[in-house]
Protein backbone atom coordinates (compact mmCIF):
# COMPACT_ATOMS: atom_id res chain seq x y z
CA UNK A 1 0.00 0.00 0.00
CA UNK A 2 2.68 2.46 1.07
CA UNK A 3 4.74 1.39 -1.91
CA UNK A 4 1.76 2.00 -4.14
CA UNK A 5 1.41 5.53 -2.82
CA UNK A 6 5.11 6.16 -3.23
CA UNK A 7 5.06 4.93 -6.82
CA UNK A 8 2.01 7.04 -7.56
CA UNK A 9 3.69 10.03 -5.91
CA UNK A 10 6.85 9.51 -7.93
CA UNK A 11 4.79 9.24 -11.09
CA UNK A 12 2.93 12.48 -10.36
CA UNK A 13 6.21 14.22 -9.55
CA UNK A 14 7.74 12.83 -12.72
CA UNK A 15 4.78 13.89 -14.84
CA UNK A 16 4.75 17.41 -13.45
CA UNK A 17 8.47 17.72 -14.19
CA UNK A 18 7.78 16.60 -17.75
CA UNK A 19 4.94 19.06 -18.13
CA UNK A 20 7.11 21.85 -16.70
CA UNK A 21 9.77 21.06 -19.29
CA UNK A 22 7.07 20.90 -21.97
CA UNK A 23 5.81 24.33 -20.92
CA UNK A 24 9.32 25.73 -21.20
CA UNK A 25 9.79 24.36 -24.67
CA UNK A 26 6.30 25.37 -25.72
CA UNK A 27 6.71 26.68 -29.31
CA UNK A 28 4.52 29.76 -28.75
CA UNK A 29 6.50 30.93 -25.73
CA UNK A 30 9.70 30.05 -27.53
CA UNK A 31 8.88 32.06 -30.65
CA UNK A 32 7.67 34.99 -28.54
CA UNK A 33 11.07 34.96 -26.83
CA UNK A 34 12.81 34.71 -30.19
CA UNK A 35 10.91 37.71 -31.55
CA UNK A 36 11.69 39.67 -28.40
CA UNK A 37 15.34 38.72 -28.92
CA UNK A 38 15.20 40.22 -32.41
CA UNK A 39 13.78 43.53 -31.19
CA UNK A 40 16.34 43.69 -28.40
CA UNK A 41 19.15 43.00 -30.85
CA UNK A 42 17.84 45.72 -33.17
CA UNK A 43 17.86 48.45 -30.55
CA UNK A 44 21.58 49.28 -30.48
CA UNK A 45 21.96 49.49 -34.28
CA UNK A 46 18.68 51.40 -34.36
CA UNK A 47 20.12 54.04 -32.04
CA UNK A 48 23.22 54.21 -34.26
CA UNK A 49 21.04 54.74 -37.34
CA UNK A 50 19.25 57.62 -35.64
CA UNK A 51 22.57 59.10 -34.54
CA UNK A 52 21.75 58.56 -30.87
CA UNK A 53 24.72 56.23 -30.33
CA UNK A 54 28.20 56.05 -31.89
CA UNK A 55 28.70 53.46 -34.65
CA UNK A 56 30.19 50.19 -33.44
CA UNK A 57 30.87 47.50 -36.03
CA UNK A 58 31.14 44.58 -33.58
CA UNK A 59 27.71 45.31 -32.07
CA UNK A 60 26.16 45.54 -35.52
CA UNK A 61 27.71 42.22 -36.56
CA UNK A 62 26.48 40.52 -33.36
CA UNK A 63 22.97 41.78 -34.11
CA UNK A 64 23.13 40.51 -37.69
CA UNK A 65 24.25 37.10 -36.45
CA UNK A 66 21.25 37.00 -34.08
CA UNK A 67 19.01 37.92 -37.02
CA UNK A 68 20.49 35.23 -39.29
CA UNK A 69 20.31 32.53 -36.59
CA UNK A 70 16.73 33.37 -35.63
CA UNK A 71 15.66 33.43 -39.28
CA UNK A 72 17.03 29.90 -39.67
CA UNK A 73 15.27 28.66 -36.53
CA UNK A 74 12.03 30.54 -37.28
CA UNK A 75 9.92 28.15 -39.38
CA UNK A 76 10.31 25.32 -36.84
CA UNK A 77 8.81 27.54 -34.13
CA UNK A 78 5.41 27.49 -35.85
CA UNK A 79 4.41 23.79 -35.78
CA UNK A 80 0.83 22.78 -36.65
CA UNK A 81 -0.11 22.32 -33.00
CA UNK A 82 0.70 25.94 -32.06
CA UNK A 83 -2.09 27.84 -33.78
CA UNK A 84 -3.75 29.12 -30.60
CA UNK A 85 -2.97 29.76 -26.94
CA UNK A 86 -0.60 31.95 -24.95
CA UNK A 87 -2.18 35.02 -26.48
CA UNK A 88 -0.41 34.30 -29.76
CA UNK A 89 -0.58 37.04 -32.39
CA UNK A 90 0.20 34.60 -35.18
CA UNK A 91 -2.67 34.66 -37.69
CA UNK A 92 -4.15 31.49 -39.25
CA UNK A 93 -2.53 32.59 -42.55
CA UNK A 94 0.81 31.35 -41.12
CA UNK A 95 -0.46 27.81 -41.59
CA UNK A 96 -2.63 28.27 -44.68
CA UNK A 97 0.27 29.95 -46.58
CA UNK A 98 3.05 27.94 -44.96
CA UNK A 99 5.37 28.02 -48.00
CA UNK A 100 5.19 31.81 -48.32
CA UNK A 101 5.50 32.26 -44.59
CA UNK A 102 8.69 30.22 -44.49
CA UNK A 103 9.97 32.18 -47.48
CA UNK A 104 9.59 35.40 -45.45
CA UNK A 105 11.99 33.99 -42.87
CA UNK A 106 14.35 32.96 -45.67
CA UNK A 107 14.27 36.51 -47.10
CA UNK A 108 15.00 37.95 -43.67
CA UNK A 109 17.90 35.52 -43.23
CA UNK A 110 19.32 36.30 -46.67
CA UNK A 111 19.14 40.02 -45.99
CA UNK A 112 20.96 39.55 -42.68
CA UNK A 113 23.69 37.37 -44.21
CA UNK A 114 24.16 39.79 -47.10
CA UNK A 115 24.51 42.66 -44.63
CA UNK A 116 27.08 40.71 -42.58
CA UNK A 117 29.26 40.73 -45.69
CA UNK A 118 28.52 44.24 -46.94
CA UNK A 119 28.68 46.23 -43.69
CA UNK A 120 32.27 47.22 -42.97
CA UNK A 121 32.02 50.80 -41.76
CA UNK A 122 29.52 53.46 -40.80
CA UNK A 123 28.70 54.41 -44.39
CA UNK A 124 27.97 50.84 -45.50
CA UNK A 125 26.00 50.33 -42.26
CA UNK A 126 23.74 53.31 -42.96
CA UNK A 127 23.29 52.17 -46.56
CA UNK A 128 22.54 48.51 -45.86
CA UNK A 129 21.09 48.01 -42.40
CA UNK A 130 17.68 49.58 -43.18
CA UNK A 131 17.15 46.97 -45.90
CA UNK A 132 17.39 44.24 -43.28
CA UNK A 133 14.91 46.02 -41.00
CA UNK A 134 12.46 46.40 -43.87
CA UNK A 135 11.93 42.66 -44.06
CA UNK A 136 10.32 42.62 -40.58
CA UNK A 137 7.26 44.55 -41.70
CA UNK A 138 6.75 42.44 -44.81
CA UNK A 139 6.06 39.38 -42.71
CA UNK A 140 4.16 41.10 -39.89
CA UNK A 141 1.76 42.66 -42.37
CA UNK A 142 0.31 39.33 -43.47
CA UNK A 143 0.94 37.02 -40.57
CA UNK A 144 0.57 38.99 -37.38
CA UNK A 145 -2.61 40.27 -35.71
CA UNK A 146 -2.96 43.85 -34.57
CA UNK A 147 -1.57 44.00 -31.11
CA UNK A 148 -0.82 46.59 -28.48
Amino acid sequence: MIRGILVAGALVAGLSTVSAVMAQSDPITERQQAMKGLSQAARAPGAMLKGEAPFDLATVQTTLKTFADTAKAGPALFPDNSKTGHDTAALPAVWTNKADFNMQFAKFGEAAVAAQASIKDEASFKANFPNVLKTCGGCHETYRAKKS
Binding site: L38, S39, Q40, A42, R43, G46, K50, G85, H86, D87, A89, L91, P130, L133, C136, G137, G138, H140, E141, Y143, R144, A145, K146, K147, S148
Partner: protein, 308 residues
Protein backbone atom coordinates in the same frame (compact mmCIF):
# COMPACT_ATOMS: atom_id res chain seq x y z
CA UNK B 1 -63.70 52.02 -39.21
CA UNK B 2 -63.10 53.66 -42.52
CA UNK B 3 -61.86 56.78 -40.74
CA UNK B 4 -59.46 54.78 -38.57
CA UNK B 5 -58.05 53.11 -41.66
CA UNK B 6 -57.54 56.46 -43.36
CA UNK B 7 -55.83 57.83 -40.25
CA UNK B 8 -53.46 54.84 -40.10
CA UNK B 9 -52.69 55.20 -43.77
CA UNK B 10 -51.94 58.87 -43.26
CA UNK B 11 -49.57 58.08 -40.35
CA UNK B 12 -47.80 55.46 -42.47
CA UNK B 13 -47.41 57.85 -45.39
CA UNK B 14 -46.13 60.67 -43.18
CA UNK B 15 -43.74 58.25 -41.44
CA UNK B 16 -42.41 56.95 -44.71
CA UNK B 17 -42.05 60.49 -46.01
CA UNK B 18 -40.21 61.53 -42.89
CA UNK B 19 -37.86 58.53 -43.20
CA UNK B 20 -37.29 59.29 -46.87
CA UNK B 21 -36.54 62.92 -46.04
CA UNK B 22 -34.21 62.03 -43.15
CA UNK B 23 -32.26 59.55 -45.24
CA UNK B 24 -31.92 61.76 -48.33
CA UNK B 25 -28.39 62.07 -49.76
CA UNK B 26 -26.89 65.49 -49.07
CA UNK B 27 -24.26 66.75 -51.50
CA UNK B 28 -21.21 68.73 -50.46
CA UNK B 29 -20.86 70.71 -53.66
CA UNK B 30 -23.34 71.58 -56.42
CA UNK B 31 -23.77 74.20 -59.11
CA UNK B 32 -21.15 76.92 -59.49
CA UNK B 33 -18.95 75.53 -56.70
CA UNK B 34 -18.93 72.13 -58.39
CA UNK B 35 -17.94 73.69 -61.72
CA UNK B 36 -15.17 75.73 -60.08
CA UNK B 37 -13.61 72.58 -58.58
CA UNK B 38 -12.92 71.33 -62.08
CA UNK B 39 -10.30 74.10 -62.54
CA UNK B 40 -6.74 74.31 -61.26
CA UNK B 41 -6.07 70.90 -59.70
CA UNK B 42 -2.39 70.26 -58.89
CA UNK B 43 -1.43 66.60 -59.36
CA UNK B 44 1.82 67.03 -57.40
CA UNK B 45 -0.03 68.24 -54.32
CA UNK B 46 -2.66 65.60 -55.00
CA UNK B 47 -0.07 62.85 -54.61
CA UNK B 48 0.58 64.07 -51.09
CA UNK B 49 -3.18 64.00 -50.36
CA UNK B 50 -3.29 60.48 -51.84
CA UNK B 51 -0.54 59.30 -49.48
CA UNK B 52 -1.86 61.14 -46.44
CA UNK B 53 -5.35 59.78 -47.08
CA UNK B 54 -4.09 56.22 -47.49
CA UNK B 55 -6.18 55.59 -50.63
CA UNK B 56 -3.90 52.80 -51.92
CA UNK B 57 -4.26 50.76 -48.73
CA UNK B 58 -7.79 49.76 -49.71
CA UNK B 59 -8.09 50.55 -53.42
CA UNK B 60 -4.81 49.17 -54.85
CA UNK B 61 -5.42 45.79 -56.45
CA UNK B 62 -4.33 43.11 -53.96
CA UNK B 63 -1.67 40.59 -54.89
CA UNK B 64 0.43 42.91 -57.07
CA UNK B 65 3.06 45.40 -55.93
CA UNK B 66 2.00 48.58 -57.81
CA UNK B 67 0.16 50.84 -55.36
CA UNK B 68 -0.93 53.08 -58.22
CA UNK B 69 -3.09 50.42 -59.87
CA UNK B 70 -6.37 51.17 -58.13
CA UNK B 71 -8.53 48.31 -59.41
CA UNK B 72 -10.05 47.61 -56.01
CA UNK B 73 -11.09 44.18 -54.76
CA UNK B 74 -9.65 44.23 -51.24
CA UNK B 75 -12.09 42.65 -48.78
CA UNK B 76 -12.86 44.10 -45.37
CA UNK B 77 -14.51 41.44 -43.26
CA UNK B 78 -16.55 42.96 -40.44
CA UNK B 79 -19.47 42.07 -38.18
CA UNK B 80 -21.84 43.66 -40.71
CA UNK B 81 -20.58 41.56 -43.61
CA UNK B 82 -17.83 41.81 -46.20
CA UNK B 83 -17.10 45.16 -47.81
CA UNK B 84 -15.17 45.17 -51.08
CA UNK B 85 -13.14 48.23 -52.11
CA UNK B 86 -14.25 49.45 -55.56
CA UNK B 87 -12.16 50.29 -58.63
CA UNK B 88 -11.19 53.99 -58.46
CA UNK B 89 -8.74 53.91 -61.37
CA UNK B 90 -9.44 56.23 -64.34
CA UNK B 91 -11.11 53.39 -66.27
CA UNK B 92 -14.20 54.82 -68.03
CA UNK B 93 -16.13 51.57 -67.83
CA UNK B 94 -15.08 50.13 -64.47
CA UNK B 95 -13.48 52.92 -62.47
CA UNK B 96 -14.13 56.62 -61.92
CA UNK B 97 -12.88 57.82 -65.30
CA UNK B 98 -16.20 59.50 -66.06
CA UNK B 99 -16.37 61.33 -62.71
CA UNK B 100 -16.19 65.07 -62.36
CA UNK B 101 -14.11 66.48 -59.52
CA UNK B 102 -17.39 67.41 -57.80
CA UNK B 103 -18.37 63.72 -57.83
CA UNK B 104 -15.20 62.86 -55.90
CA UNK B 105 -15.90 65.75 -53.51
CA UNK B 106 -19.42 64.49 -52.80
CA UNK B 107 -18.12 60.96 -52.33
CA UNK B 108 -15.32 61.92 -49.94
CA UNK B 109 -16.93 64.82 -48.09
CA UNK B 110 -20.49 63.41 -47.76
CA UNK B 111 -20.34 59.72 -48.70
CA UNK B 112 -22.69 60.20 -51.66
CA UNK B 113 -22.22 58.60 -55.11
CA UNK B 114 -22.70 60.51 -58.39
CA UNK B 115 -26.16 58.93 -58.78
CA UNK B 116 -27.17 59.96 -55.28
CA UNK B 117 -26.73 56.70 -53.33
CA UNK B 118 -25.12 56.50 -49.88
CA UNK B 119 -21.73 54.85 -49.51
CA UNK B 120 -21.09 52.57 -46.56
CA UNK B 121 -18.85 54.17 -43.94
CA UNK B 122 -16.27 51.40 -44.45
CA UNK B 123 -15.11 54.13 -46.86
CA UNK B 124 -13.88 56.60 -44.21
CA UNK B 125 -15.79 59.67 -45.39
CA UNK B 126 -16.59 60.27 -41.73
CA UNK B 127 -12.95 61.49 -41.60
CA UNK B 128 -12.61 62.91 -45.13
CA UNK B 129 -15.73 65.03 -44.46
CA UNK B 130 -13.42 67.43 -42.60
CA UNK B 131 -11.05 67.83 -45.57
CA UNK B 132 -10.70 70.93 -47.73
CA UNK B 133 -12.43 70.82 -51.15
CA UNK B 134 -9.14 72.11 -52.67
CA UNK B 135 -7.42 68.93 -51.45
CA UNK B 136 -10.07 66.82 -53.18
CA UNK B 137 -9.52 68.89 -56.34
CA UNK B 138 -5.76 68.20 -56.24
CA UNK B 139 -6.34 64.53 -55.45
CA UNK B 140 -8.60 64.20 -58.49
CA UNK B 141 -5.90 65.77 -60.68
CA UNK B 142 -3.47 63.13 -59.36
CA UNK B 143 -5.87 60.18 -59.70
CA UNK B 144 -6.38 61.10 -63.36
CA UNK B 145 -2.62 60.57 -63.99
CA UNK B 146 -2.74 56.94 -62.75
CA UNK B 147 -3.09 53.86 -64.97
CA UNK B 148 -6.57 52.74 -65.99
CA UNK B 149 -7.36 49.28 -64.60
CA UNK B 150 -10.11 47.16 -66.18
CA UNK B 151 -12.59 45.07 -64.23
CA UNK B 152 -15.17 45.97 -61.62
CA UNK B 153 -14.62 44.79 -58.06
CA UNK B 154 -17.26 42.35 -56.74
CA UNK B 155 -20.23 43.79 -54.78
CA UNK B 156 -20.34 43.98 -50.97
CA UNK B 157 -21.80 40.95 -49.21
CA UNK B 158 -24.01 42.26 -46.43
CA UNK B 159 -26.99 40.87 -44.58
CA UNK B 160 -30.29 42.72 -43.97
CA UNK B 161 -30.76 45.38 -42.59
CA UNK B 162 -27.22 46.47 -43.49
CA UNK B 163 -27.84 45.65 -47.14
CA UNK B 164 -30.47 48.44 -47.22
CA UNK B 165 -28.40 51.42 -48.39
CA UNK B 166 -31.00 54.12 -47.85
CA UNK B 167 -30.79 53.41 -44.10
CA UNK B 168 -27.23 54.79 -44.07
CA UNK B 169 -28.82 58.23 -44.37
CA UNK B 170 -30.20 57.77 -40.87
CA UNK B 171 -26.79 56.58 -39.64
CA UNK B 172 -25.25 59.72 -41.10
CA UNK B 173 -27.62 62.02 -39.21
CA UNK B 174 -26.10 60.59 -36.01
CA UNK B 175 -22.48 59.80 -36.91
CA UNK B 176 -21.44 62.03 -39.80
CA UNK B 177 -19.96 65.33 -38.64
CA UNK B 178 -19.16 67.55 -41.61
CA UNK B 179 -17.58 70.48 -39.76
CA UNK B 180 -14.43 71.56 -41.63
CA UNK B 181 -11.27 71.55 -39.52
CA UNK B 182 -10.12 75.12 -38.96
CA UNK B 183 -6.80 76.13 -37.46
CA UNK B 184 -6.89 76.67 -33.73
CA UNK B 185 -5.25 80.04 -33.19
CA UNK B 186 -3.66 79.11 -29.82
CA UNK B 187 -1.74 76.20 -31.33
CA UNK B 188 1.38 76.07 -33.48
CA UNK B 189 1.23 75.79 -37.26
CA UNK B 190 2.82 72.33 -36.92
CA UNK B 191 0.11 71.12 -34.51
CA UNK B 192 -2.64 72.42 -36.78
CA UNK B 193 -1.08 70.75 -39.83
CA UNK B 194 -0.78 67.51 -37.85
CA UNK B 195 -4.37 67.67 -36.73
CA UNK B 196 -5.54 68.13 -40.31
CA UNK B 197 -3.40 65.21 -41.53
CA UNK B 198 -4.61 62.93 -38.73
CA UNK B 199 -8.27 63.97 -38.39
CA UNK B 200 -9.20 64.93 -41.98
CA UNK B 201 -7.00 62.73 -44.19
CA UNK B 202 -5.09 60.03 -42.28
CA UNK B 203 -8.25 58.63 -40.64
CA UNK B 204 -6.24 57.15 -37.75
CA UNK B 205 -9.33 57.27 -35.51
CA UNK B 206 -11.25 54.92 -37.80
CA UNK B 207 -9.23 51.95 -36.55
CA UNK B 208 -7.75 53.32 -33.32
CA UNK B 209 -11.14 53.91 -31.64
CA UNK B 210 -13.77 51.53 -30.29
CA UNK B 211 -17.12 51.41 -32.11
CA UNK B 212 -20.66 51.03 -30.76
CA UNK B 213 -23.03 48.31 -32.03
CA UNK B 214 -24.27 50.71 -34.74
CA UNK B 215 -20.73 50.95 -36.09
CA UNK B 216 -20.17 54.54 -34.96
CA UNK B 217 -17.01 55.65 -33.19
CA UNK B 218 -17.44 55.98 -29.41
CA UNK B 219 -16.62 59.69 -29.21
CA UNK B 220 -15.44 59.65 -25.58
CA UNK B 221 -12.89 56.94 -26.39
CA UNK B 222 -11.59 58.32 -29.66
CA UNK B 223 -8.00 57.13 -30.25
CA UNK B 224 -8.11 54.88 -27.17
CA UNK B 225 -7.88 51.65 -29.20
CA UNK B 226 -10.10 48.61 -28.96
CA UNK B 227 -10.88 45.25 -30.54
CA UNK B 228 -9.86 44.86 -34.17
CA UNK B 229 -13.05 45.22 -36.29
CA UNK B 230 -11.52 42.83 -38.81
CA UNK B 231 -11.18 40.02 -36.32
CA UNK B 232 -8.52 38.83 -33.95
CA UNK B 233 -6.20 41.29 -32.25
CA UNK B 234 -6.34 44.55 -30.34
CA UNK B 235 -5.75 47.97 -31.85
CA UNK B 236 -3.40 50.02 -29.66
CA UNK B 237 -4.41 53.07 -27.65
CA UNK B 238 -2.63 56.05 -29.25
CA UNK B 239 -3.61 58.67 -26.66
CA UNK B 240 -1.11 59.57 -23.95
CA UNK B 241 -2.44 56.51 -22.11
CA UNK B 242 -0.79 54.30 -24.72
CA UNK B 243 2.13 56.32 -26.08
CA UNK B 244 2.72 58.71 -23.19
CA UNK B 245 6.26 57.42 -22.71
CA UNK B 246 7.11 57.91 -26.40
CA UNK B 247 8.85 61.03 -27.65
CA UNK B 248 7.53 62.97 -30.61
CA UNK B 249 10.53 61.61 -32.53
CA UNK B 250 9.49 58.05 -31.65
CA UNK B 251 6.03 58.60 -33.14
CA UNK B 252 7.47 60.21 -36.26
CA UNK B 253 9.95 57.32 -36.60
CA UNK B 254 7.15 54.75 -36.42
CA UNK B 255 5.31 56.58 -39.21
CA UNK B 256 8.52 56.51 -41.29
CA UNK B 257 9.77 52.97 -40.70
CA UNK B 258 7.13 51.00 -38.78
CA UNK B 259 9.35 50.50 -35.75
CA UNK B 260 8.29 51.22 -32.17
CA UNK B 261 10.89 52.60 -29.73
CA UNK B 262 11.42 48.98 -28.55
CA UNK B 263 12.14 47.96 -32.15
CA UNK B 264 9.02 45.97 -32.55
CA UNK B 265 7.79 46.26 -36.12
CA UNK B 266 4.09 47.06 -36.58
CA UNK B 267 1.94 44.39 -38.17
CA UNK B 268 -1.32 43.81 -39.99
CA UNK B 269 -2.81 46.77 -41.87
CA UNK B 270 -0.57 49.22 -39.96
CA UNK B 271 2.37 47.95 -42.03
CA UNK B 272 0.62 49.32 -45.10
CA UNK B 273 -0.31 52.55 -43.33
CA UNK B 274 3.43 53.08 -42.87
CA UNK B 275 3.88 52.77 -46.65
CA UNK B 276 1.58 55.79 -46.94
CA UNK B 277 3.04 57.87 -44.11
CA UNK B 278 6.58 56.85 -45.10
CA UNK B 279 5.98 58.52 -48.48
CA UNK B 280 5.09 61.86 -46.85
CA UNK B 281 7.63 64.63 -46.24
CA UNK B 282 9.30 64.24 -42.82
CA UNK B 283 7.84 67.60 -41.76
CA UNK B 284 4.34 66.13 -42.17
CA UNK B 285 5.19 63.03 -40.13
CA UNK B 286 6.60 65.30 -37.43
CA UNK B 287 3.40 67.33 -37.52
CA UNK B 288 1.27 64.21 -37.12
CA UNK B 289 3.47 63.20 -34.18
CA UNK B 290 3.13 66.65 -32.64
CA UNK B 291 -0.66 66.39 -32.75
CA UNK B 292 -0.88 62.75 -31.64
CA UNK B 293 1.41 63.45 -28.69
CA UNK B 294 -1.04 66.17 -27.59
CA UNK B 295 -4.00 63.76 -27.24
CA UNK B 296 -4.94 63.57 -23.55
CA UNK B 297 -4.82 60.18 -21.84
CA UNK B 298 -8.08 58.25 -22.32
CA UNK B 299 -8.82 54.76 -21.09
CA UNK B 300 -9.94 52.41 -23.85
CA UNK B 301 -12.47 49.61 -23.48
CA UNK B 302 -11.37 46.85 -21.08
CA UNK B 303 -9.33 44.15 -22.69
CA UNK B 304 -10.39 40.54 -22.28
CA UNK B 305 -8.01 38.59 -20.01
CA UNK B 306 -5.13 36.85 -21.72
CA UNK B 307 -5.93 33.31 -22.73
CA UNK B 308 -3.52 30.45 -22.28
Amino acid sequence: MKRLFSALLLVAIVGLGLFWWLTRPIMAVTGAQAAALEQGGDAGRGELVFNAGGCASCHATPGQPDRKRLGGGLQLKTAFGTFVAPNISPSQADGIGSWKTADLANAMLRGVSPDGAHYYPAFPYTTYAHAKPEDVRDLMAYLRTLPSVDGKAPAHELSFPFSFRRGIGLWKTVFLDTTPIRDEPGKSAEWNRGRYLVDALGHCAECHSPRNPAGGIVAAQRYAGGPDAEGRGWVPNITAKGIGSWSKGDVSELLATGFTPEYDSVGSSMADVVRNTGALPKADRDAMAEYLKSLPAVDGPPRPPKKD
